[in-house]
């Protein structure tokens, strides 16, 4: 509960990262979500990823829409500014925030109702523009806060808790993100932190639109037989194509991978992604191949997870707009105001 203060006490031997922060420094308020909610596992994974990357917590801006998932930014990175905005409008608010200060890390948190229904347009256009962000959809296939209506990612033929069969086709946000040019696209499962944590870390390191669809079961309204977003169903149908290790800095990779089993991807900032292959033929640099692969496996009822696509030479909206390196919010009148002499010239041209 947000009004219950979290105790600051911790074990004297607690692990610290390169900046001397502990896990506790990346936590937020106590979650108000249901016990066992998949979203809380994603929160824990975000905390873990930020800890591992040794990010200064206050250099992250957390932005969300409305819904269960959108509440979660209050539960991690308590020293970061957060913005719980308007239903389905996280992408535009995040775009504006990013334009104002390109130096912060932008973490957008949304849900399937927020991004696939009311905010489908904003999701699509933020991806198209290549906003430098980590866009996480906590995807449970239902509207939790309004008690279990289907969302647009619910599979056709899946059953609601009340026994109603969904007759509408599902929107696959991963497929859309790939088509619209996202430069880092992944899917994971809230019940698989080992897979999810490095995927989040890789996305934060990525320069450009990074999209992560995290299937995250709703314990209250979508965890029954007949659901395709339940813990049991996702565990049974999870088809991981790869596992990811993220290496920051310039240090040599010391992990001993067996030859031919790993693909190293170096990103803009020098961070490296080591992709341990599970499906030997899967190529995460092939956008078209990824789209075909996903469609084929979806038709077989499989949920493909892993880092599905990455473009290490990605660009972002600031490169497209050719904006100055200095954040726009730090420019002062001297940088912005052309002054009276320039205005006199303009006046003269208007006579």
């Amino acid at each position: 509960m947000t009004y219950i203060a979290k105790p600051k006490f911790h074990h004297p031997g607690i692990k610290t990262n390169a900046l001397g922060f502990t896990h506790r420094d990346y936590e937020g308020k106590i979650s108000t979500l249901c016990a066992g909610c998949g979203h809380d596992s994603i929160t824990a994974s975000i905390i873990e990823a930020c800890f591992e990357l040794s990010i200064e917590p206050h250099r992250v801006a957390k932005i969300s829409g409305i819904g269960c998932s959108s509440k979660t930014p209050d539960y991690f990175l308590g020293n970061s500014h957060g913005f719980n905005s308007v239903h389905g409008r996280m992408p535009s608010v995040l775009t504006g925030a990013n334009l104002a200060n390109r130096e912060l890390i932008y973490l957008g948190v949304s849900g399937d109702g927020d991004s696939a229904s009311i905010g489908f347009g904003q999701f699509a256009h933020a991806i198209r523009r290549g906003v430098n962000m980590t866009y996480v959809v906590e995807n449970n296939g239902v509207y939790g806060l309004t008690k279990g209506q289907f969302s647009a990612t619910a599979d056709r033929g899946s059953k609601s808790k009340k026994g109603i069969t969904n007759t509408d086709n599902a929107i696959d946000l991963v497929g859309i993100a790939l088509q619209l040019g996202a430069t880092y696209v992944a899917r994971s499962f809230s019940g698989d932190k080992k897979q999810l944590v490095p995927i989040i870390a890789g996305a934060i390191q990525h320069k450009g639109a990074a999209f992560i669809d995290v299937v995250s079961p709703c314990i209250a309204f979508n965890n029954h037989a007949g659901s395709t977003k339940s813990y049991d169903y996702v565990r049974e149908h999870n088809d991981a194509v790869n596992r990811l290790d993220v290496f920051t800095g310039r240090d040599p990779i010391t992990v001993d991978y067996a030859p031919g089993t790993v693909q190293i991807v170096e990103q803009h900032d020098g961070s490296r992604l080591a992709l341990r292959k599970i499906d030997a033929d899967y190529d995460p640099h092939d956008r078209l191949g990824a789209m075909t692969f996903l469609q084929k496996h979806a038709a077989q009822g499989q949920i493909v997870t892993g880092l599905l696509y990455v473009d290490p030479d990605s660009e972002d909206l600031h490169s497209h707009l050719n904006t100055v390196e200095q954040p726009l919010n730090r420019l002062e009148a001297a940088d912005l105001c052309p002054g009276s002499t320039a205005l006199d010239k303009i006046n003269a041209s208007l006579r």
Binding site: H58, F83, P91, G96, A100, L328, P338, S340
Partner: protein, 616 residues
Amino acid sequence: MPQQAPLSSVNDFVVRFANVNGSGSASANELFARAVLRHGVPVSPRNIFPSNIQGLPTWYEVRVTEAGHLGARGGGTDLMVAMNPQTWDKDVAGIVPGGYLFYDSTKPMPSTKFRGDITVIGVPLTAITNSTYTDPRQRQLFKNIIYLGALCALLDMDPKLIEQLIGEQYKGKEKLLSSNVHALHLGRDWALQNLKCPIGLRIRKADKVGDRIFIEGNNAAALGAVYGGATVCAWYPITPSSSLAEAFGNHCKKLRHDPKTGKARYAIVQTEDELASIGVVIGASWNGARAFTTTSGPGISLMTEFIGLSYFAEIPAVIMNVQRAGPSTGMPTRTQQCDVIACAYASHGDTKHVLLFPEDPAEAFEFAATAFDLAERLQTVIFLMLDLDIGMNQRLCRPLKWDDARQYDRGKIMTAEMLDEGRDFGRYLDVDGDGIPYRTYPGTHPTKGSYFTRGTSRDRYARYSEEGAVYADNMQRLIRKFETAQDLVPRPLQANAAKPTRYGVIYFGSTAPAMDEAIELLEARGHLLDRLRIRAFPFHSSVASFLAEHDFVYVVEQNRDAQLRQLIVNENGIDPVRLVPILHYDGTPITARFIADAIGDHQDHLKVTPLRKAVS
């Protein structure tokens, strides 16, 4: 038909050009208006155009007015330049008795197509053009310059002044320059040789323009945004506001690139819709940039949810609303002041917003720059209420001014230094009693000053709360903040009649030039009025004083429902009977004649002796 003496007037008449949209006439017509200005004679031009790119009728009306009356005159056309066969009958019918009809006489017209009470001036424009030019595009463009040349002779204008303007326009493009000048003289020479020049309407050099400039309101507001330090512009195309965002981009290209790196000190995003444009503005402002969007009525409707967030979560935003006739798609290319209520109370729940009402481009420039100071000082949305009449027409106005000593007011920002000094930071804590709390920018300090922004209710320290008392405390503070705004926004301007009077008139925005002229007309009829031009909402206390000082106050506005009057009645709690609505809402700009007739008739009725006095 009875013979009517041809109109005779120097520097005071209305010329209307009837053209086909997309025929290249706009630049020739503008050249005419500028040429009159170069004679030292004020003009007030208006584009009357359809929601169309090519083919439909379009008109350009130029009021030549040595007296400087810049509102639309109304009451028909003195000289019709009828270049569009589609609208011929309507155009001919719109000429005042004794007026003039200028037309292309290449093909003979039946006499039934003319009127006996006007002077008909035929110039074989197509014949002259076709015998000189072979390229179809040139034929079309130079035909416009040829009629300008003929008008130059007919109205006794100095051709050197027009040549000078052409020279400025085509500086460095000698070929275009000389061919335009050639076309000008083709028309002028033909008229001098074949027609009785000049006609009764004449332009005579005067000295009534001074240092004034000629600029569209949208362009001036865009410059105001540049000078006001806006760095983020997010917009969605909608008439009549699109040219504002585009002008911002053009000015930024010239004025806002780092001279060393060539990089942009601004970001412009054309978004997918108005929901996104206001979202980008709010995200950028939350993060400490000065951001704005441009839109019109339908866009305001879409933005209202975010506008409520801006009000309640207290995030600066500037919305430039170039109003057009609504509701729904309404008349998208016609002017109105019809979003006053929609903007003042935009969004669900209890909300009130700051509105600024510029009267002309010069004030649009000033208010646009000021809007960013106000948005950051008050941490809320500020509406710059333009309209099509100001936004999309070139208006003669005082030069734009900027004081280089002026500093941006960035509002109450708590910095890392202040936090380290131990200053208590409550995002919604009213430390100064003005209802305005401090805010921190994201990323300010490693351990202090972060908070969670939300549209849900929260306490003074930004902690989520659904406690009734906590919610009410916050809503009360927001009202205190709105009261603070009263003294920060531009004050109303009052101008009193020569003698004390019991009658007053309130007006705002683009009504101003027509109102100034109407006051003269009313004085001539013996009606004296004090006038108050409202320049912002919330209303300054002087509005209530003005109402108290007068028995009847006319409220002149360009909408059906007397929206400003509703707002005054509502916010001041006064008897509506004392506020007489004067309403003009057919999509054309309000005229002095309309105002003077409406107020004059009401005044005449008031002078009827009351019945009980007559009996007693």
